[in-house]
Subunit: 412 residues, 3 copies
Amino acid sequence: MDAGLFTANNVWMMLATALVFFMHTGFSFLEIGLTRQKNTINILFKNIFIITGGLLLYYAWGFNLMYPGFEEGSSGIIKFSMDSFGISAPENGMTPEYADGGYTWWTDFLFQGMFAATAATIVSGAVAERIKIGAFMIFTVIYVGLVYPIVGAWKWGGGFLDSWGFYDFAGSTLVHSVGGWAALVAIFLLGSRIGKFDEDGKAKAIPGHSIPMATAGVLILWLGWFGFNGGSVLSADPELTSLVLVTTSLAAAAGGFGAMILSTVLYKNLDLTMFLNGILGGLVGITAGADLMSPNEAVVIGFLAGILIVFAVALVDKMKLDDPVGAVAVHLVCGIWGTLAVGIFGAKAGGEQFMTQLYGVLIVGVFCVVCTFIILGTLKAVMGLRVSKEEEIEGLDIHEHGMDAYPDFIND
Amino acid sequence: MDAGLFTANNVWMMLATALVFFMHTGFSFLEIGLTRQKNTINILFKNIFIITGGLLLYYAWGFNLMYPGFEEGSSGIIKFSMDSFGISAPENGMTPEYADGGYTWWTDFLFQGMFAATAATIVSGAVAERIKIGAFMIFTVIYVGLVYPIVGAWKWGGGFLDSWGFYDFAGSTLVHSVGGWAALVAIFLLGSRIGKFDEDGKAKAIPGHSIPMATAGVLILWLGWFGFNGGSVLSADPELTSLVLVTTSLAAAAGGFGAMILSTVLYKNLDLTMFLNGILGGLVGITAGADLMSPNEAVVIGFLAGILIVFAVALVDKMKLDDPVGAVAVHLVCGIWGTLAVGIFGAKAGGEQFMTQLYGVLIVGVFCVVCTFIILGTLKAVMGLRVSKEEEIEGLDIHEHGMDAYPDFIND
Amino acid sequence: MDAGLFTANNVWMMLATALVFFMHTGFSFLEIGLTRQKNTINILFKNIFIITGGLLLYYAWGFNLMYPGFEEGSSGIIKFSMDSFGISAPENGMTPEYADGGYTWWTDFLFQGMFAATAATIVSGAVAERIKIGAFMIFTVIYVGLVYPIVGAWKWGGGFLDSWGFYDFAGSTLVHSVGGWAALVAIFLLGSRIGKFDEDGKAKAIPGHSIPMATAGVLILWLGWFGFNGGSVLSADPELTSLVLVTTSLAAAAGGFGAMILSTVLYKNLDLTMFLNGILGGLVGITAGADLMSPNEAVVIGFLAGILIVFAVALVDKMKLDDPVGAVAVHLVCGIWGTLAVGIFGAKAGGEQFMTQLYGVLIVGVFCVVCTFIILGTLKAVMGLRVSKEEEIEGLDIHEHGMDAYPDFIND
């Protein structure tokens, strides 16, 4: 392959990697912005743990587990071996022969490693303000280190979902729903925060401490999606990468609009948070088929994702589940929607594809739900998941970290 | 064309697009940082509306209106047709034959779409803290959807300004002045905020609520200008793109220095806000000729832009106009200065060019002023532009959005 | 050279430049986050001064001083001449013949210019909350304008350190230690902030005013390091650049983990600030040899850097030195560690290399310490380094800038 093309491809993939890394800043801002000041340090600590620990785990075995530990079309059982610890350069892995010249093996590892941590980050927001940090750290290690790469292997590693024709371009299911299912189970097991539901069981808003930060978080996440979806082309193919950026941005814009319009109609209020969650819903929704859709289809998928967000947020409340940042609505509901949309719109639309997408959604869902129940159920029995009532009221920052988020912030 | 070169060009243009998108985070930070806490949600809502709505409008018809709806050298009258709704892939638009292999048609759309929203964002800062959000949203739709692409078509779409030899590399006039003129008319029609001028008509500072956010906003805008100007080369041509980044950054630095030195001399104070606005002035000032100037010329243009900022800010106050973020000084005054500087410095300097630049500035100015007067004048008559006195005093956040920006922010 | 390859290389280098520029946002956030609210404007002003002034100085003479003002292998004496003022395009500098087609001459200037300002930024954090801004600005001009390029010329400009075989890939010594030594001397000459040590000489924590900002700063710095180290390959060579990104990110993650684990064991507290400083330590530590190490070696180097951070922070306290942001621990201690690690791990490991690295560290250290003593000693004698007691207690923002950082921030 031509050196210029190989180099240009790899430059794109390295910068996509950088943008996906930057999404962790976006998630951090979003999560602390939408939660209370007294739990800010705790959330940041969790997020820093996820990105550092996630990368180290993916280096130690996740990457090997997800990709080459597998024969093509095999049954999905993972072969462990000591060879799979750590990464080192493959025989001819840095030549353009690897991955059709789309990138080098090193770039591959780092791009995938940045993805891996995302699933745990999604959970982090949902369980905020009440989970024991020790329990969360153990959960993260197992979920990022085992559950995520196993599911990933089924499709992106060439496993059975791939053989069936299941399609998930950049991870509506493999990343977002994997995180979203765990978030759903976790908030079910944890219970709601004190004060979230009144004696009649009616949900009350617990406002966050910085909407500007949450807004910046969403804009940074949108920016990061340029890399998340754009990099999932796995090369810098000009036509495909640029189409993906167009569908991604149009779906984000349409998602925001859908949620904004519906929430204004329903609640007679120009609700910024719903606008923001609509953008995220549009982004998650387009992720499974960002490379298959026309701009028109992307607008429709995004807009419907925004509509779904408004109903999903209300439904979660109705079910007496407490999801401080709307992670279930954004990542699970729109992740499912985006995956199914591949069977409804775009280049692969069709009944058979729709059913395959549905099977994929269900199988991944069952697996993630079962795994999360086992992991968190065990942790609940052994060490407990939830902080004490006193700690929850006084804030996790003081109790777990002996520290305030804004210790010297002063008002005149 | 060589696949490597086409791919490298398109990679650059896609990342320039991402950087221009990121500028909306910069604008948001700058605007909320320099305004009062009680109007923060309102400003963020407007900015999120602009980026989502702007992109959707540009998709629906703006792009078609600005670029191909036009015969070369024609009189500037736009032909509308149903064909111009929405975008779809052109016959051979994804091949290197499009745009001399500088990028694909999809990239072209997205890069230009990110530009389109900028004009409205400039207005957003100037009218902050007192405009009715409904009126602003309608104005934005018309201005981004019609006025901006019509002016753009005159030059970048190959219209009459282009035929005359008018030069505006990345939009000192076509983006920044287009926004700046609207800002000027809008603050004239709106009137000043309560408390901005005392009974003797003397301007009083109304300090913002977060200078750190404003500072971060300026640094993000500078970063975004790497894409705004660098991407305006419309390929990754190594010599030209790298020259543009050098002139852009040197003008920013010199603009900051100019404003900082002059304001320190005049007001005996190391004024951070002036330093920051000087940087923005330098960036706007170099934008029209970033590809024509030597580094030395860029330093001179930027430095003079910084000087202009200090005087322009004082002049706006003197005229009893109230521009909370200095948008008129930065985008209009330095936009004009940068456009004229193309006739004074650099590769195209000369009396004839200067006059062409001047005509371009005036024609665009007259058109934008007239359009803004018509749009906002109509809105003023029909629904009113300004919120009630009570709402202005209590804050737009509570009244229009039922929400605080920092609801849980607590001081010990 | 092939146009596609040249273009792809230059695209990478321009974006690496943008990322290094963005590090100044990261440094600003980190420094204001870890210091008190009353000194925020002052720190931001210094940082804006550094990036604008640093770039202008590097344009005026720094670049010429550091690179071509030198014969190969000469003794390190700099030849000044009027020719060395300002930059202009070299005869054939924009062709692929320059720098083996890795980038253009313009890109070279801008990339190096962004590096130059970093050394002064490091000092800025250490001297925060008590240095006179005038003294700091004069120091910055001399340090960025003379000391940094002279040391840089010894190695990167092809001087005697380079002839000896001293290795410093991206600046553990040439950037970070150059800043770190100056920070050490400066905090020694300045003395500690009022209240940092009690009457028994025991260090007391003076908490900062926004840990979320400090966290965002570290994440932005990590992102910036993609460009800082990745760009130091000086081309987009796929194998080498992607290896560098892998070693850089793994060292960051391992550094964070090392510091987090050790500080938790020693102090029985999940300390977010230590976690963050560990990440920075890992980044600084890998910088000298990011292109020489395997992923395993990068993890070891980063982890040990994280361990060192915990001890170094304690040692600085023990020495009764007051370093509000931990700049000496991060940039000096880990800068030295990273430089020596080149002789212990990776492709160049060996006793002779280790000694060369050690000599380089010592020579640079002696030179920087002497220069800083002369510059700051002179300033201390002539104008004083430290603000008055009253000003320190009331805050530098009001006294030097007549301005609050959050003037309109209100609590309900």
